[in-house]
Chain length 412, copies 2
């Protein structure tokens, strides 16, 4: 059977993700110092305490943990989420406003299933989370980008894009935003921009999908309210246990209007029916035990140290023509290279000549632009490897900038 | 926000699933004897041994089990699947032919994402698995039904439907089949029909999606080869750990052409990125420990007893005008009631007057017909409750058949 001749039309648009996947695989080679994958450092996992929680689940409720659970999630976990939404995020919600999902990305996939038809227009940042672009492409939407600067999504640019779209008779269905410690740029929307963004969206009758993945990981500066806390009605709030607990449990949640949640649950009946029963109970037990809170504290301590190290090293080892973001939290810093650089080509050389990996800019842009940008993830790499990694990166950038064949700088 | 005015067009077609969900919720009331949900009996779970396996994972590889894993699944589990495919199913395959999924239904969702565009035609049995109909509806396909009789999908009917479709210029994209112990009917395609089905599909250049969910649970009769074993090239083989281990781990797999698997993995990057890391390792540890094999043996022993009980009780307690299937395996028997019966209405009375639950026929038919049919699941209900449950069912059927108001039979 010639399966490649039988593929759905959406598959043609997913080629960028295929390329990224191939490159991420290369970055996993043990001889590579990798700033690429956005993984938590396993050092933050309180494995002994998690093991005790797991033992309790196993002895107390194993039979239930091995069977099917409710489609919208295990009710006590939904209750925990609702109370977390109140206490941590300042959002009033009930169990009916909460759907447990198989991670933050499934949350977005479900939103797309429930709200988007092929040809619909969605708005995203430029740059934005590459897997979000994948989801919107898989749903065959038209993706319109809004510039992101050092303070996040630019509201004035959004306003003018919206007015142009409306002038063309196009009414976007939603805007996807990562307000805090954005992936990939690390930047954060200040309060004034949050309020302005909401004002613009209210005027344009535009729903907001808020991705809260990194918001708990703040290393300096003051906490900011989630968009959901400012305008609960307009915002579909997505969160994940991946960064506050561990990605391996594949759990996240959506907090939104209860009627919409019921439709999102209906969509989930056609993806994986119900979230993982065992890990839902495990996560709840760990949350009640204080492990999530403790791991967030450990993450903040560890990653803020790594962030200091990487920012110091970048200062020391990169040519002055390169600039980067100084995030207040999250996993990433985002580098801008001078005109003429092409980071996908740079990455090939970095892997080959210097054994260092990053993610090149283009996959974070809907139009595959951004060839002067690259993302460095500082959360996963061992702290003591960061200086060596940045040194290698500096070498490959410098040698490329000087027009020399990369690798020669080592002999200079 | 009026979210119900912002829903994607697919949502309108998902109403049948919403109704089923509501009714399944009712069936969970503790005062109801329920033949409805297709759950394994927790008595088959070897909880102590599973706990030991979990302890080993926790002490040996916890940090990895809590982090992201590879998109197509944990490689050692894919290796186990490939060897299982060879040893148990007689299918030669390698790791590259295997994608681990978040359950059997996600497997079908991924197939739909990779192969189906809105408006495409798919073929299914009448009746068929109701969640499969949900998936095909969510992808806005045209669903064409092929009659299922006591020997499963009727190949001659398929052939004439295909020739009619081709005459209309319609080329279906795939046929979805559950060859063994079909959900909901419990019927099994004999070898001759399997071969004939494959012959017809070869002639029509039609891919087959084979759902193998229940095939390991055979209580009598001889094993039959999977369609995949007869024609590996044409068949996309879906399996789940839900019935051979436990649904709570939310794991299944697809075995198919490696090029197609790579495209299905690409689709999975936009659903939940990777399967549950923790439960993948748990399931593999349990498989290596012999727990899966042992649980299948226990399931066969327990469910074959329950099947004997329910068939005996149906014989004893139902009016002679009612007929039912005598499955050789699986979870279900399928009842046909005389002309004039309407099982959705019967279910309402059964719940109210007799506190007994089943699933009415219509949700198993693409055209929502099948109002004279109902599904009884015998796997989950405690053996000692089966006689009482069938007696209640018999009462509500008899009272309805006699045109009396239900409930009166109790005073007769």
């Amino acid at each position: 059977m010639k399966w490649d001749q039988r593929l759905a039309s959406r598959m043609a648009s997913l080629a960028p993700s295929r390329a990224v996947t191939e490159i991420l695989k290369l970055a996993e080679r043990p001889d590579i110092i990798s700033f690429s994958g956005g993984l938590p450092d396993p050092a933050v996992f309180l494995t002994e305490r998690i093991r005790e929680c797991s033992d309790r689940i196993m002895s107390r409720e194993m039979a239930a943990a091995l069977n099917y659970g409710p489609n919208p999630g295990y009710t006590p976990l939904r209750e925990w989420v609702a109370s977390h939404m109140k206490q941590i995020e300042g959002v009033d919600s009930t169990v009916e406003d909460v759907l447990v999902t198989s991670g933050g990305l499934e949350a977005l996939h479900l939103v797309a299933l429930a709200l988007l038809d092929p040809g619909d227009t969605v708005l995203v940042g430029a740059p934005t989370y590459l897997a979000a672009l994948h989801v919107f492409r898989a749903h065959q939407t038209r993706i319109v980008s809004v510039p992101v600067d050092h303070q996040g999504l630019d509201p004035e640019a959004l306003e003018s894009i919206l007015s142009k779209l409306v002038g063309q008779g196009v009414h976007p269905r939603l805007i996807y935003v990562i307000p805090s410690f954005q992936n990939p740029s690390g930047v954060t929307l200040p309060l004034s921009r949050r309020e302005r963004l909401l004002e613009i969206c209210r005027k344009a009758d535009l729903p907001i999908v808020e991705d809260h993945a990194y918001a708990a990981l703040r290393y300096r500066g003051d906490d900011l309210p989630a968009l959901k806390a400012i305008d609960p009605d307009r915002v579909i709030f997505l969160h994940t246990f991946s960064k506050i607990f561990g990605p391996g449990v594949r759990l996240g949640w959506i907090c939104a209007d209860s009627g919409l949640i019921s439709n999102l649950g209906l969509c989930k009946l056609g993806t994986d029916q119900c979230p993982n029963t065992f890990t839902q109970r495990l996560v709840l037990e760990c949350a009640r035990d204080g492990i999530i809170e403790a791991q967030v504290d450990r993450s903040v301590a560890l990653y803020s140290r790594k962030l200091r190290v990487i920012l110091g090293e970048l200062e020391k080892r990169l040519p002055p023509s390169v600039t980067w973001t100084r995030p207040e939290g999250g996993f990433y810093t985002w580098l801008e290279l001078p005109q003429g650089f092409d980071t996908p080509a740079l990455l090939e050389r970095a892997l080959e000549d210097e054994k260092v990996a990053f993610v090149a800019g283009p996959p974070f842009f809907a139009d595959n632009s951004g060839e002067r940008f690259l993302r460095l993830c500082f959360s996963f790499l061992a702290e003591e490897l960061i200086p060596e990694g940045v040194e290698r990166l500096g070498r490959v950038i410098s040698s490329t900038a000087q027009g020399r064949k990369p690798g020669h700088s080592k002999q200079a």
